[in-house]
């Protein structure tokens, strides 16, 4: 049966509506919809004088402050300091956690020996280490990087250790049939099989590394985004605080997104319900 003229025009209008709807935006842009409209209304509210500019400067003022900092070279210095701390602390924490988890996950004796202590240490909120770290290592880079490493350590350790323990015994048996030794079974079966859980742990570790860099920089620093936060508070400049918060959000989201890309690629073999989940 031929569709009637009315039906055809209805269909065309529906299609046009669909094309115009925001759902048509590329998914990456879709996520910007909310922050962009919030920023816009905020800007408008500031323009109309509905908010106290000193406490809540509009996005344009925050942007101007950031631009000023960038021009003087200050911003690069702060960014570099924070990125260096997060980067080295994260790498250190992930490396130590991975080696330890590989050991406790595969050697039963080591697991019984070390795992209870590691789990007990995990129960201490990591910020509580700050006074001791300062006492031991002073207030310069070492305690900061160690604190960040501690933040990245536990999620990574848990991810890899539980991942290894969850590996199907039947796959390990295949390794035995083909003469893999202990190391061969770890490298060719346990590590790849535990990879998704490990990477999820590393992702959690990255999140905590960003959280702890603030804690570390708040405990006294002469540069870094955390220093900017304090600086803004001391000088009563909310634009600097907001600018630093914005940069934290941006960098945190960016590094997480990079890690997610790595995770998707490394775990494409998984037969999961939601792709990349």
């Amino acid at each position: 049966m031929m569709p009637s003229a009315v039906e055809t025009s209805l269909a065309a209008r529906a299609a046009a509506l669909r094309a115009a709807s925001p759902l048509k935006l590329p998914p990456a842009l879709f996520g910007f919809l909310l922050p962009a409209s919030l920023a816009l209304s905020w800007e408008l509210a500031a323009f109309e004088g509905w908010i106290t500019l000193r406490l809540l400067p509009p996005p344009s003022a925050v942007a101007a402050t950031l631009a000023e900092l960038a021009q003087s070279g200050e911003l690069t210095r702060h960014l570099r300091a924070t990125l260096f701390r997060v980067g080295s602390g994260f790498v250190l924490g992930v490396a130590v956690a991975s080696v330890l988890a590989a050991l406790t996950g595969t050697v039963e004796l080591l697991r019984r020996l070390l795992d209870p202590s590691i789990q007990a240490l995990r129960a201490i909120p990591s910020i509580a280490w700050v006074p001791l770290f300062v006492l031991w290592f002073g207030i310069f880079e070492t305690p900061k990087i160690l604190l960040i490493a501690l933040g990245a350590f536990f999620p990574t350790y848990l991810g890899l250790e539980s991942g290894i323990r969850a590996v199907d015994r039947k796959l390990v048996e295949v390794g035995r049939i083909y003469h893999l030794g202990r190391v061969g079974i770890v490298l060719r079966i346990l590590v790849p099989a535990a990879l998704p859980s490990w990477l999820t742990g590393i992702r959690g570790g990255l999140g905590l590394a960003w959280m702890f860099v603030i804690a570390a920089e708040l405990m006294g620093a002469s540069e870094g985004l955390g220093y900017l936060l304090i600086d803004g508070q001391m000088s009563g400049n909310a634009a600097i605080i907001l600018g630093a918060l914005f940069l934290f959000a941006l960098l945190g989201k960016l590094t997480d997104a990079l890690l997610v890309i790595v995770i998707r690629r490394a775990t494409a073999w998984q037969d999961s319900f939601v792709r990349g989940a």
Binding site: V174, I177, A193, L195, W269, Q270
Partner: protein, 247 residues
């Protein structure tokens, strides 16, 4: 020659799984092992594979005592047990020694893949394979070293009847190429009568050999033939006697 002498297995938890199996298998034979569930069939196969150690007794392959897994032995389990992160090619090559040159590994893996009829799927991941294809890949992995003893533990039991029939024909074709000794655990009496030269009926636990049937009907065998039906009937009778004894 595979020689099994007074082979017994008691697991660490005290379960007696096998109690004195004696058996000699000429090279190149197909042996089917049937018996009620829990009678020790898998235990026997795992002992032959070197995955478990006997509590007493010995297994000799060509006169040499078997201690642990050997490259002369290939194993296919009920589940394909493929590494989900490796494609078919690398799963099959997993069976080859690491120190082999990469080129030779690939060439041998490709040959094994062709032998099981999986050519064209070398790059497929296990999650992209059907049950039958995954089991073929597992068979290719077991065949890639050209083992002289091939152990199959209910390898077709998860597949539907038509696929199973096709794989029977293919296993026979592959077996005819280099004639490994083949030990097949199955609960399918038709499968046993169709494929095997020697059919072992176990009862247990603890597993003992209840009966041994030789089957010298020429291949390909016709399941509708009188001799086939008679063998099948005798198997069924022995098996239900075992089950009654166990119950």
């Amino acid at each position: 020659m595979l020689e099994i002498t007074r082979l017994s297995k008691r697991y660490d938890n005290g379960t007696a799984a096998l109690a004195g199996i004696d058996l000699v298998i000429d090279p190149g034979r197909i042996v089917a092992v049937v018996g009620p569930s829990g009678c020790g069939k898998s235990t026997l196969l795992r002992l032959l594979a070197g995955l478990e150690r006997p509590s007493s007794g010995t297994i000799r392959l060509d006169g040499a005592p078997l201690e642990g897994p050997s490259p002369k032995i290939g194993v296919v389990f009920q589940e394909p047990r493929l590494m989900p992160w490796l494609d078919v090619l690398h799963n099959v090559a997993f069976g080859l020694p690491r120190r082999m040159p990469a080129r030779a590994r690939t060439a041998m893996a490709l040959r094994a893949i062709a032998r099981v009829g999986l050519s064209g799927f070398e790059r497929a991941l296990p999650k992209e394979l059907s049950g039958g294809m995954a089991q073929r890949a597992a068979l290719a992995r077991a065949l890639v070293t050209r083992p002289q003893l091939l152990l199959l533990d209910e390898p077709f039991s998860a597949l539907d009847a038509r696929l199973r029939a096709r794989l029977h024909a293919e296993v026979l074709r592959i077996w005819a190429e280099d004639r490994p000794t083949l030990v097949l655990v199955t609960h399918d009496l038709d499968e046993a009568a169709l494929l095997a030269d020697l059919i072992l009926v176990l009862s247990g636990p603890p597993g003992i050999v209840r009966a041994v049937y030789t089957n010298d009907q020429p291949r390909p065998r016709d399941p509708r033939s009188l001799s086939f039906q008679m063998l099948r009937a005798r198997l069924l009778e022995t098996l239900s006697a075992c089950e009654h004894a166990a119950a």
